[in-house]
């Protein structure tokens, strides 16, 4: 039985039957893991929404539009991850991440520093989704993460360009080692669910 067809199945994992598929969801650890990971992803996406909402109020010019647009994207990402999170779905942002972001926002002296914070967070979110791709077992969840990662990468590049950052050094600084797996950037660590627990 393919119990991991996607959000609907996971979202209703208390039920035994989803559509034409009979599920034994409660006993399947992979589904539970996917649901928990999706909830984590939703929580950090909501933290990004909060960051942009707070930042937009302190921005001027085109940066306001960007902040508003990207906040909409992150809200949609959170909603969609929540569809996979089932009973674990979250309605509030990741508390520890939001607190860390808020500290930096409070310390930010100007628009540039707020854009830089957004640039860093977008890169970290992209890295986080990259990391989660290796942990999700559901093809639907993998596919969802894969549909979001490029967009958050685009956000980062746009913000970095507004900041006047260097293309090769800052925006797309990846090095590829064909035998070693996907490209990485040493400074853009992914967000660790253990460090930023849902509800923590």
């Amino acid at each position: 039985v393919d119990i991991i067809e996607g959000g609907q199945a996971v979202a209703q994992r208390a039920a035994l039957t989803v559509g034409r598929v009979t599920l034994a969801l409660e006993s399947d650890a992979s589904v539970v893991d996917d649901a928990a990971l999706a909830a984590f992803a939703a929580s950090v996406e909501l933290s990004a929404v909060e960051m942009y909402t707070a930042s937009a109020a302190r921005m001027t010019g085109p940066a306001v539009l960007l902040a508003q647009a990207f906040a909409v994207h992150h809200r949609e990402h959170a909603r969609t991850f929540n569809a996979f999170a089932g009973i674990n779905q979250v309605t509030t942002a990741n508390a520890r991440l939001t607190a860390a972001i808020q500290n930096q926002l409070d310390a930010s002296a100007d628009q540039r520093s707020r854009l830089m914070l957004a640039f860093q967070l977008e890169n970290q979110l992209a890295s986080t989704h990259q990391s989660l791709l290796g942990k999700f077992t559901s093809p639907g969840a993998v596919r969802l993460g894969a549909s979001i990662l490029p967009v958050e990468s685009e956000h980062a590049v746009i913000l970095g360009t507004f900041l006047g950052l260097d293309l090769e050094k800052d925006l797309i600084p990846f090095t590829l080692q064909p035998t070693a797996g996907p490209p990485t950037h040493p400074e853009w660590g992914s967000l660790d669910p253990a460090r930023y627990p849902v509800g923590g």
Binding site: G6, A146, S147, I148, L149, S153, E154, V157, L165, L167
Partner: protein
């Protein structure tokens, strides 16, 4: 040389943002209103449709003809719906490792993208130094990607595909032949990067070795970054690019907030 962000007049920015604002107006006004469950279904349904690839460990590969991005007028809107012109398909059935078939398509696509960059570069239409540097850099990254996919093909006992995908190049030939300005070149590269990212998303979830999902997505992320840089140049952000009139139809990000497989190169094309 880095642009001096502090010296850009906010009013000038606002003017340059006309196109972006049009796109954002649609986004902010109606973020499609689709329930998250429906969006999840949409994503998963796309995956399910592609399940035909894996049949008993074999792949049924269509020798397809690429119609996507034949002309700039027929290009699929990113995050929107594909035009019917992408639906050309069919024929030979061959048995291959499904992962190898996808990896060969990926490296052939990367080589085709490199060929497009090289052809465009040879015309010397791009005069903006930053764009010249950027496209040269992007081309080198595509070479890295091709090498990555070729190495993965070899690891799985397959024969790496080391040539540009001729079906893709033939489909792009009319646009290559019509290039006349710097903006034409940037728009073509923008579309090609979009197709590459869409293609990688289209195969995620179909690999028998799910480690390849992460690898492929990481490459899609880089194509997305290329797409954003080229989209910024076309949109005139953060300030207009010399020689390119800011336009409304080339946003530097997926308007829907999600990468979609729209415009993807169909499985089996040209390999």
């Amino acid at each position: 040389m880095r642009p001096d962000h502090s010296k850009i007049d906010p009013d000038q920015w606002a003017e340059a943002l006309t196109g972006l604002r049009d796109g954002l107006g649609r986004l902010l006004g109606a973020p499609d209103g689709r329930p998250a469950e429906d969006r999840a279904d949409l994503i998963v349904d796309n995956l399910s449709r592609r399940r035909f690839l894996g049949v008993g460990g074999l792949a049924v590969v269509s020798a397809a003809v690429l119609a996507a991005c034949t002309t700039s007028k027929s290009k699929p809107p990113r995050g929107g719906t594909s035009p019917s012109t992408t639906d050309v398909e069919t024929s030979t059935t061959i048995a291959v490792d499904p992962d190898v078939a996808i990896l060969r398509l990926a490296s052939s696509l990367e080589h085709a993208v490199i060929a497009v960059y090289q052809s465009a570069s040879g015309l010397e239409l791009v005069t903006n130094k930053k764009l010249v540097d950027a496209t040269t850099y992007f081309s080198s990254q595509h070479a890295d990607h091709a090498g990555l996919f070729q190495g993965l093909t070899s690891q799985r006992g397959g024969q790496p595909f080391t040539d540009p995908n001729q079906a893709i190049l033939e489909s792009l030939q009319p646009r290559l032949a019509a290039l006349a300005t710097q903006a034409d070149v940037v728009e073509l590269l923008y579309d090609v990067e979009s197709v590459a990212a869409a293609t990688y998303l289209s195969v995620v979830g179909t690999f028998t070795d799910n480690k390849l999902d992460a690898v492929t997505t990481s490459v899609a992320g880089i194509e997305g970054r290329h797409f954003a840089v080229l989209g910024l140049a076309l949109s005139g952000l953060p300030k207009p690019t010399t020689g390119i009139a800011p336009r409304t139809g080339s946003l530097p990000f997926a308007a829907s907030g999600f990468q979609t497989p729209d415009g993807a190169v169909p499985p089996g094309t040209g390999v």
